[in-house]
């Protein structure tokens, strides 16, 4: 048993070392009125920050946009990912090439593709395509509200990259299913639609669950990336960016910490549901 704990130590220490103090600090600060702008130390205010947020219309707007963004992109990624995986499920000539094409958006490092993606969709200087893009941007912003186009750009990027990951991930799931199973299903059930829901989806359940969760968490990371990159030019209120704004620009660390912790219970609840789907089976095989 000692060996087990020794082996667990590096990973646990890394995670605890990097995450525990910051998380604890955030949790504590969310209960205070700490701000680097006032000279005295943080004063304990209890759940004041949380209560203020819950009564704040801006917060609810951000919460709706955040959850909406995460849900919409995850759904889009799932649909595209399932489509990619099904398209690649059977062998055909050139399969390896198409597979590589579908693998590329994820393999292409997001840290730089997000830069390219963003500046392509809102080009900074006259390039051959900037007139067209600028026109598009103005049209969308005019129709929906300032900052909408940047938001669309992030959404498209997130879906583009995420669907690639999910597609490849689900393909790994489909590869594990013996082809005879699909052939049996073909005999039993003529409707491809029903076959998909009755056979393919249950077989892919652990893969789907894991993919959904990872998609939810990366949705927020992408937003943060672009937001920092553009110095806050993405003005759509999202919980993450609002928290950042409060903390860095306004120095209100208390509310900002409370705000950024708001999503944790939500994600934990999702995770608790999904664990059941992707936990490896319990019993040790003989």
């Amino acid at each position: 048993m000692v060996t087990a704990y020794l082996l667990l130590a590096p990973a646990t220490l890394l995670l605890v070392g990097v995450l525990a103090y910051p998380l604890g600090w955030e949790a504590w600060i969310s209960l205070t009125d700490f701000s680097p702008l006032n000279d005295r130390g943080p004063a304990f205010v209890g759940t004041e920050n949380y209560r203020r947020l819950l009564g704040d219309a801006e917060f609810w707007r951000a919460a709706v946009v955040t959850v909406g963004f995460a849900t919409a992109t995850t759904l889009a990624k799932l649909v595209l990912g399932v489509a990619f995986a099904l398209l690649l499920a059977r062998p055909f000539r050139g399969r390896a090439l198409v597979f590589l094409a579908i693998f590329l958006p994820w393999a292409y490092p997001a840290s730089v593709s997000v830069i390219g993606w963003y500046w392509t969709l809102s080009p900074p200087i006259p390039t051959a395509y900037s007139a067209f893009m600028g026109h598009l941007k103005v049209t969308v912003d005019h129709a929906v509200g300032t900052g909408a186009w940047s938001f669309v750009a992030v959404t498209l990027f997130n879906v583009w990259r995420g669907s690639s990951f999910i597609g490849v991930f689900l393909l790994a799931g489909i590869n594990a299913v013996p082809p005879e199973l699909f052939e049996c299903a073909l005999l039993d059930c003529r409707s491809a639609w029903r076959r998909f829901w009755l056979v393919t989806v249950p077989l892919l359940r652990p893969f789907l669950a894991l993919a959904v969760f990872l998609s939810l968490t990366t949705a927020f990371a992408d937003l943060a990336n672009v937001w920092l990159l553009t110095a806050g030019r993405v003005v759509f209120p999202v919980i993450g960016t609002q928290a950042y704004w409060l903390a860095i620009k306004a120095g209100e660390f208390g509310p900002a910490s409370a705000l950024s912790l708001m999503l944790v219970p939500f994600l934990l609840a999702v995770l608790a549901l999904l664990f059941r789907a992707f936990d490896p089976p319990d019993e040790a095989r003989a």
Partner: protein
Amino acid sequence: MNPRPWWRRLGHGGLLLVAAVYCVFPIYFVLVQSLKSAHEDVFGNPFIVTSPTLENFEELFERKGQPRNFVGRALRRDYPFFVWLENTLVIFGGSVAITLAAGLAAAYALGRLRPPGFRWWRRAIFATYVVPHTILFVPLYQVVIRLGLDDNPLLLLLVYPTMALPFCVWILSAYFQNLPREIEESALVEGASRAAAFYRIVLPMSRPVLIAAGIFSLGTIASDFMLASVFLLSEHNQTIPAGLATMEVALDELLAVAGINLMAIPVVLVCALFARGYVRGLTAAMVEGA
């Protein structure tokens, strides 16, 4: 298989084409831009390059800052791209190695030795993904300064693994858990030590899963842009993503695009090289007995 009618084959082919174009087009677009001269960038057709040139790539490495310009240095900043490249290689390589080593050890303990509560331990490790990263770097900075690691690229060797570890521990330990016990036990009976059995038998068997974990780590680490640009301040300590972010995109658009490609191409090549193993590893990890 029964032969499928021509129209279904055509439909399948058409959809494949659409999917491939959708996935590759943005990458193609960025690649094409980087091969353009400034003239063609403004006046040419955005989708093709008629006289490809490598001048942007050369300039990225060779440009010297030229203060003679009346707006001053800012207009013609030189970029220490070689240094960025070195930093990136060291940090990415090191982080993936650390992730794999720590992940492998933890996964073996969780999937094979199974200390009491191993299931919850694994879930707890995975659940660290819910930690919101938005303003986490503020308290993280306090830790970093206390450790004296601010503006030190080595710091990322500690931070990056935490982004990929939970997933890697998950798939590796699931794989070990599904591995039949006899595989190791037969070696133990023959008198091999536990370590030798692991090194000789379990490790070679888990190669595809290790590849999957490694590729996942690389993809995750290479996607970070925020932490690198928050923590690495001086030019000679930056990685490529952090460095590119400091470029004046409005002035050096083509250079930035060239930099994007220089960063992306090696990563993509590594991923493509291991793509097959990646899929096989994910399958092996998630499905028992596969």
